[in-house]
């Protein structure tokens, strides 16, 4: 102790020898890891810690968001005019599609009542932006700029204009962490649109590939089949596009097909995401925008970069009952008007 002349602030912990300190810290760390790993006992602690390091994330994100702001603000008049024209055209197309949707929905509701099956209520969405921060490089995780103050919950599904992106795994107070469907630890229940064949799509660790390892060799799967969420498991609402089957390999001697699919959403180019709540619309007022599920799917079917807030504002009249969407509605996703 007397040797530490410069060390004026003695604390009990500092006085211990480095070896003892190492052992203590390691035991403590192992305890923390065990608690964190099993049943997520430390989610509350992590939430507070993550909220306190949120400034670091904001700082890392700042140059990128400033860059976006600059490019938005100094866009030339010509670019704006062209963009405006394109958007107007898209709105026209979408409105035309929505007109047809309204009658289809009504028809669907009638058929549902005939079949005596329960009608499903609309979904509510919230737009979030992805922050420009990297997480663990070996995982496919993203940070979004909405947290529990905006009502984000763990397990919430996330889509973009083209399809399912992933789900929220941790809600911090001002931000949330989400896992993409291509993460190697992620699996989601899906079904083929063509024949309602149900299976599981598993992430591969490759942003452009999903794998479906649990289909037997005699399963009816073709290249080009569209896969959508089946709604089983409860995390993802049914009927949202997941991807397109790109490759079906049947190997002699193997019990299952090797199927790979390409995600519908451009997972490496997303900037904004939509978070979905599947709950009765009467409990819905907190979100930015309200949309029926079919409405959201309709915008999800559109060309890239169309998931703007205005597209999903309530365009379907309230008196038309929104119903559970059967995947058959999705059978002709690229159908022209």
């Amino acid at each position: 102790m007397t040797l530490r002349i410069a060390d004026s602030d003695h604390r009990a912990f500092r006085d211990a020898s480095p070896g003892l300190r190492l052992v203590l810290i390691c035991i403590f760390s192992i305890g923390v890891m065990a608690l964190d790993n099993q049943n997520r006992h430390l989610e509350g602690v992590r939430q507070i810690l993550a909220a306190s390091i949120y400034p670091i994330r904001l700082l890392v994100d700042a140059p990128f968001s400033i860059g976006r702001w600059l490019s938005d603000n100094f866009a030339t008049r010509n670019t704006l005019i062209t963009e405006n024209d394109q958007l107007k055209r898209k709105i026209l197309i979408h409105n035309a599609r929505l007109q047809r949707m309204a009658s289809l929905e009504a028809e669907n509701a009638r058929l549902r009542t005939l079949l005596d099956s329960t009608a499903k209520v609309g979904d509510r969405v919230l737009i979030a932006e992805i922050m420009s921060v990297d997480m663990n490089p070996f995982r496919h995780m993203i940070v979004i700029n909405r947290g529990s103050v905006d009502g984000i919950q763990v397990g919430q599904a996330m889509i973009d204009g083209q399809g399912i992106i992933g789900q929220v795994i941790r809600d911090h107070i001002f931000s949330a962490e989400a896992i993409l469907i291509t993460d190697i630890d992620h699996a989601l229940p899906v079904e083929l649109v063509r024949n309602r064949l149900r299976t599981i799509a598993v992430g591969t660790g490759d942003l452009e590939r999903l794998s479906m390892p649990f289909l037997p060799r005699n399963a009816d799967v073709q290249v080009g089949d569209l896969i959508v969420t089946s709604g089983l498991g409860g995390t993802f609402p049914p009927g949202y596009p997941v991807g397109v089957i790109r490759d079906v390999i049947s190997e002699v001697g193997q019990p299952f097909l090797k199927i790979s699919a390409e995600p519908a959403a451009a997972l490496n180019r997303i900037r904004e995401v939509l978070l979905i709540w599947t709950e009765p619309p009467q409990a819905a007022p907190a979100a930015d925008t309200d949309a029926t599920q079919n409405d959201a799917v309709e915008s999800a079917r559109a060309e890239p970069e169309t998931a703007q807030p205005d597209d999903i504002s309530p365009a379907v009249p309230a008196d038309i009952p929104t119903v559970d969407e059967t995947p058959t509605v999705d059978e002709t996703p690229e159908e022209a008007l």
Binding site: R4, A6, D7, S8, D9, F13, R14, P18, G19, R21, L22, I25, C26, F28, S29, I30, G31, V32, M33, D36, N37, L42, V45, R46, L49, A50, I53, I56, R57, L59, V60, F64, S132, V133, D134, M135, N136, P137, F138, R139, M141, R170, E177, I184, D185, G205, L207, N268
Partner: protein, 166 residues
């Protein structure tokens, strides 16, 4: 003591900056070349100012890394503490090493850290993909000389401003 605290904060700023570099977005192609900046910084400051930065600081920086990367709480913290302990234990020897020898030592320390992380991932059952985590170790060691040069300048500027410090 207040002066001591006053001299300490720029280094904390440096440590936090290097920690933040971990979450700087890089294209996927560059993942194998992303060096463990925070570990390099911790090794340097524990080696040079062992009385100011110790296992506690290493643990704290590791914990921040864990949260930033969304990993198991305590994983980086423990790996960082082990690296910090080894640095602290041998700081008098490695301080006077020639640069190439010091770089090799840093390589060994980074490899130990990567191994501890790899080990914990294995126990917990996290996916362990690819060789990127090992190439990061090599790249981190390659980057040690420039990192050390920059840190040296920061340290010298603090020490000349406040000679009673350390």
């Amino acid at each position: 003591m207040s002066r001591r605290r006053a001299s300490r904060w720029p280094v904390w700023l440096v440590l936090l900056t290097t920690t933040a570099l971990v979450s700087l977005p890089l294209p996927d192609v560059l993942t194998p070349f992303r060096p463990p900046w925070a570990t390099l910084a911790i090794i340097y400051w524990i080696m040079m100012w062992p009385r100011v930065f110790g296992l506690g600081s290493a643990w704290l920086i590791g914990l921040i890394l864990d949260i930033l990367q969304g990993e198991l709480l305590g994983q980086h913290a423990m790996a960082m503490t082990i690296v910090g302990y080894l640095t602290l234990r041998f700081h008098l020897q490695i301080r006077i090493f020639p640069l190439w020898q010091l770089t090799m030592t840093v390589f060994a320390l980074l490899a130990i850290e990567a191994f501890v992380l790899f080990w914990i991932d294995g126990i917990v059952g996290n996916p362990m993909l690819g060789v990127a985590r090992w190439t990061q170790v090599i790249f981190g060691a390659i980057l040690w000389p420039p990192v050390m040069a920059i840190m040296d300048r920061i340290r010298e500027s603090i020490e000349t401003r406040d000679p009673t410090f350390i």
